[in-house]
């Protein structure tokens, strides 16, 4: 028996050492990445709000995430007296576990995917990341506090409703490929020569909105709405547990933007990947890196202390090295086979970053929805619209295949479909406004019941 177990373990390791290693790397590196996303968010927010943001730790606050992480780790770990200890302990772990697990299904470039070629591909990512909701709900419940409970109730209602819309949006995207496999999805976009965001813009829009709601980001950050529920389900969590929730939230952001990138924005493909005329775009990544390095070098003499100057130089050097790595596949024939891996990774990360940037931009700009408004938006606007969209995209595809359309010419049928969906959207909005004008003070219906 013992031997059998050892044998099985060996088999397992032999078969799966590479993904295991990748998984370990991701678990180790992701907190750092998340930390830097937070830093970028704070910097961007500061920039939009006419201030500087973190500036103290490291040059331009570049080491702030590390300081934050250390602070969170050494903070006192408080478990409320009347909390359900087991669940209180379990909840953040569940949340972060689900988020990390779903990364496994993503393909960051054609070469880098942990769970390679799984048949259910994108569904795996969506499904597993949806399990993170348990962490939120149970965490709020286990805290034994009214604010937490309301936060988790809001959260569960919100996630369940927006998951439907997001799923429907994904379906209309998937209709275009006919596969769930992530690699196949991106390859389909390569073969068609067009990103699916062009073919199914309405679906992309729905997914965009729903994904913001699913990650609890502003303007849908009601479960943790600071000004109402203190911190929602996280109210009673502190220190490391709290940072796990934080990690889960940002990891989920990465996951949803990766899904959107894969399905709608051409995954790791360069813009116009099949058009040779646009090959010069291959030089954009290294040039970008060189630009960043140049900026760092320019700023180096202005740093106040020696250490900071050295740090800036190090950052510049890192960027230059990256630029070289990015340049190699396009310049050196020997490195040609690495092209897809390296540049694919770059473009994928670039697109994901752009998507996340949009999230942040929204957060700084617009106020928060109220809960009934959020539910109304989800159930009365997004879900009907997404269902209609699936319908019209399906019809458009049938028409397209009848006329044997491919690539850009598909726009001939999908654009009218999108327009129909938009018209429907406007009609839904108008109807909603009429009905709300009719009963202005209608009690905020029992949105918990749904």
């Amino acid at each position: 028996m013992m031997q059998a177990v050892i044998q099985a373990t060996m088999d397992f390791l032999k078969l799966y050492w590479a993904p295991l290693l990748c998984g370990l790397v991701i678990v180790a590196v992701l907190p750092l990445i998340v930390g830097y996303i937070v830093l970028v968010e704070r910097k961007l927010m500061a920039d939009m709000q006419a201030r500087l943001g973190p500036m103290r730790v490291g040059p331009h606050g570049l080491l702030q995430p590390i300081a934050d992480a250390v602070k969170l780790l050494i903070k006192e770990d408080i478990i409320p007296d009347n909390a359900d200890k087991l669940v209180f302990w379990l909840a953040p772990v569940l949340s972060v576990g689900a988020a990390l697990l779903s990364i496994a299904g993503l393909a960051i470039g054609p070469a880098f995917q942990i769970a390679k070629d799984i048949n259910i591909g994108i569904l795996f990512v969506v499904g597993v990341s949806a399990m993170g909701i348990f962490g939120i709900v149970l965490g709020g419940w286990a805290s034994n506090s009214h604010y937490s409970l309301m936060g988790s109730l809001r959260s569960s209602a919100q996630l369940v409703s927006y998951e439907t819309a997001a799923g429907m949006a994904l379906v209309s995207g998937l209709l275009l490929t006919g596969t769930l496999n992530i690699k196949a999805i991106v390859e389909a976009q390569y073969n068609e020569g067009i990103w699916f965001v062009m073919l199914a813009p309405v679906a992309f829009f729905i997914y965009l909105v729903a994904s913001i709601a699913e990650t609890n980001r502003a303007p849908f950050d009601l479960p943790e709405a600071e000004s109402e529920l203190v911190a929602g389900y996280m109210t009673e969590f502190s220190g490391f547990r709290w940072s796990l929730y934080f990690l889960a939230e940002y990891t989920n952001m990465i996951v949803v933007s990766s899904v959107a990138t894969t399905l709608f924005l051409g995954g790791w493909l360069r813009p116009f990947a099949r058009v040779h005329f646009f090959n010069f775009l291959d030089y954009v990544p290294p040039l970008l890196m060189i630009g960043v390095a140049g900026y760092c070098l320019l700023r180096t003499p202005k740093q106040p202390s020696r250490v900071q100057q050295l740090f800036m130089l190090a950052v510049a050097g890192l960027c230059l090295a990256l630029a070289l790595v990015l340049l190699a596949p396009v310049a050196l024939p020997i490195a040609k086979p690495l092209y897809a891996g390296i540049h694919g990774g770059f473009w994928f990360i670039f697109k994901v970053s752009a998507y996340i940037y949009f999230f942040m931009w929204l957060r700084f700009t617009i106020p928060r929805y109220r809960f009934d408004q959020l539910m109304r938006l989800g159930w009365q606007f997004l879900i009907p619209l997404s269902i209609v969209n699936v319908l019209v995209v399906g019809v458009a595809l049938i028409v397209g295949s009848y006329f044997n359309l491919h690539g850009w010419s598909m726009l001939l049928v999908t654009t009218p479909a999108a327009i129909i969906a938009l018209v429907v959207a406007l009609m839904i909005l108008a109807a909603g406004q009429q009905s709300s004008a009719g009963k202005e003070n209608a009690p905020a219906s029992d949105f918990y019941a749904g």
């Binding site: 927010m45 939009m48 709000q49 006419a50 201030r51 009214h146 604010y147 409970l149 309301m150 109730l153 502003a218 303007p219 950050d221 009601l222 709405a225 600071e226 000004s227 109402e228 529920l229 203190v230 957060r363 700084f364 700009t365 617009i366 106020p367 928060r368 929805y369 109220r370 809960f371 009934d372 408004q373 202005e440 003070n441 009690p443 905020a444 029992d446 918990y448």
Partner: protein, 384 residues
């Protein structure tokens, strides 16, 4: 069914209930430590799900006995204390107090002092409204306006600092006039601020006024009809948003307000959105007043002859000014000694807050913070 539930909260024992559904309601304590109760306000909310079916404000956490202190200080000594009530509009507090004592003494501040007082008070009104706008927007979830507002408020505080050395609790005025002569570039500073400020207000409006979410969150929320507003003694922008065109600067002009032209913005429905619009317009009008005032600051003394020891003749006086939050009244009774016999402060925030329960019923928890924000309370003044 709703009618039965709307019993007063204060009279019934607060049984902590167990469920979110059913006949029992959820009672939730908002504050005194809560991000958006603007200080140490504690609101006991009776909720049905997320809907508020009753509320009770519990105040006094910041009570410092200002009125009692006033009875034990001389008239001049008490002046800095009033700055600590509405600490985001200290200049207005000081103006009200100084003018009340002047009335009690039967003296008048010289014209120059009155104009400078007007300028500073209007700047203070802008600053107070800016802080309100920023925090109110933050409560509703818009992060950015706060920092824009702080940027402009900073300009105003800099002017205060240049004028009297203090930024927040300024104690800028003195009974009988001014303590300090205006510094050389006061007019220029104010003019520059006013010039910039026009576009800045427009900037806030682009962020909020037409924003669908903002409208959704504020329109129809916390409606206070004109009758209710008067019955609850509500004053200031909250009253004007309900459609009552009443402003003490017009109704009973003080300082130098009778010399300037300005409009009183009024709302129509008395909801949160109207109060927002009224305050935005008030900032513009304040800017206009400042511009008119710096055009022609009369020369002359800045302090009336009041003497070093103030002994107002016995008697009493009530003087009210239009503070940023509403009618700020001082009822001072003198017994002829150097200390006031009784100082009663009519705090606008305190009285406006009383209408909170009326405004909040039937709304959701998220609206509670919007309504607390829209009343624009400062707990230092509520609790005194």
């Amino acid at each position: 069914m709703e009618a039965e539930r709307e019993t007063t909260l204060s009279s019934e024992a607060t049984t902590e209930n167990k469920t979110l559904l059913g006949a029992d309601e959820l009672i939730i304590n908002m504050g005194p430590q809560h991000p958006s109760t603007h200080g140490v306000l504690r609101v006991k909310l009776k909720l049905d799900g997320e809907r508020v079916i009753g509320s009770e404000c519990i105040i006094g956490y910041l009570h410092r006995g200002v009125e009692k202190i006033g009875e034990n200080r001389t008239y001049q000594q008490f002046a800095p204390y009033v700055d600590r009530m509405d600490y985001v509009a200290a200049v207005s507090n000081g103006l009200g107090y100084c003018e009340a004592i002047e009335k009690l003494l039967v003296v008048e501040a010289p014209p120059r002092a009155r104009v400078i007082r007007t300028i500073l008070t209007e700047l203070q009104r802008i600053a107070s409204h800016l802080l309100w706008l920023g925090t109110h927007a933050l409560d509703i979830g818009a992060l950015t306006p706060l920092f824009y507002c702080m940027r402009e408020r900073e300009e105003i505080l800099k002017i205060f600092e240049k004028y009297c050395g203090a930024r927040l609790t300024t104690h800028a005025f003195r009974i009988g006039g001014l303590q300090y002569e205006a510094y050389d570039t006061l007019e220029k500073d104010v003019e520059r601020f006013c010039k910039d400020f026009e576009s800045r207000v427009a900037e806030y409006e682009t962020l909020l006024t037409q924003n669908r979410i903002w409208i959704g969150r504020t329109k129809g929320v916390g409606i206070l009809t004109a009758e209710d507003a008067i019955a609850f003694g509500v004053t200031g922008p909250v009253l004007r948003a309900s459609g009552v065109k009443w402003d003490l600067r017009k109704a009973a002009p003080y300082a130098a307000y009778d010399q300037y032209k300005f409009e009183i913005p009024v709302g129509t429905t008395g909801d949160t959105y109207d109060r927002y619009l009224v305050r935005m317009e008030e900032m513009r009008q304040s800017r206009l007043i400042c511009l008119q005032a710096i055009e022609n600051i009369p020369a002359g003394p800045i302090l009336a002859k009041v003497g070093k020891v103030l002994k107002p003749p016995p008697g009493e006086v009530y003087h009210a000014i239009e503070a940023p939050k509403g009618e700020l009244g001082y009822y001072v009774v003198s017994d002829g000694t150097v200390q006031p016999y009784r100082v009663r402060i009519r705090p606008p925030s305190f009285i406006n807050l009383q209408a909170f329960d009326r405004m909040v019923r039937g709304h959701l928890v998220a609206d509670v913070v919007a309504i607390i924000g829209t009343i624009d309370i400062v707990l230092g003044e509520v609790d005194r």
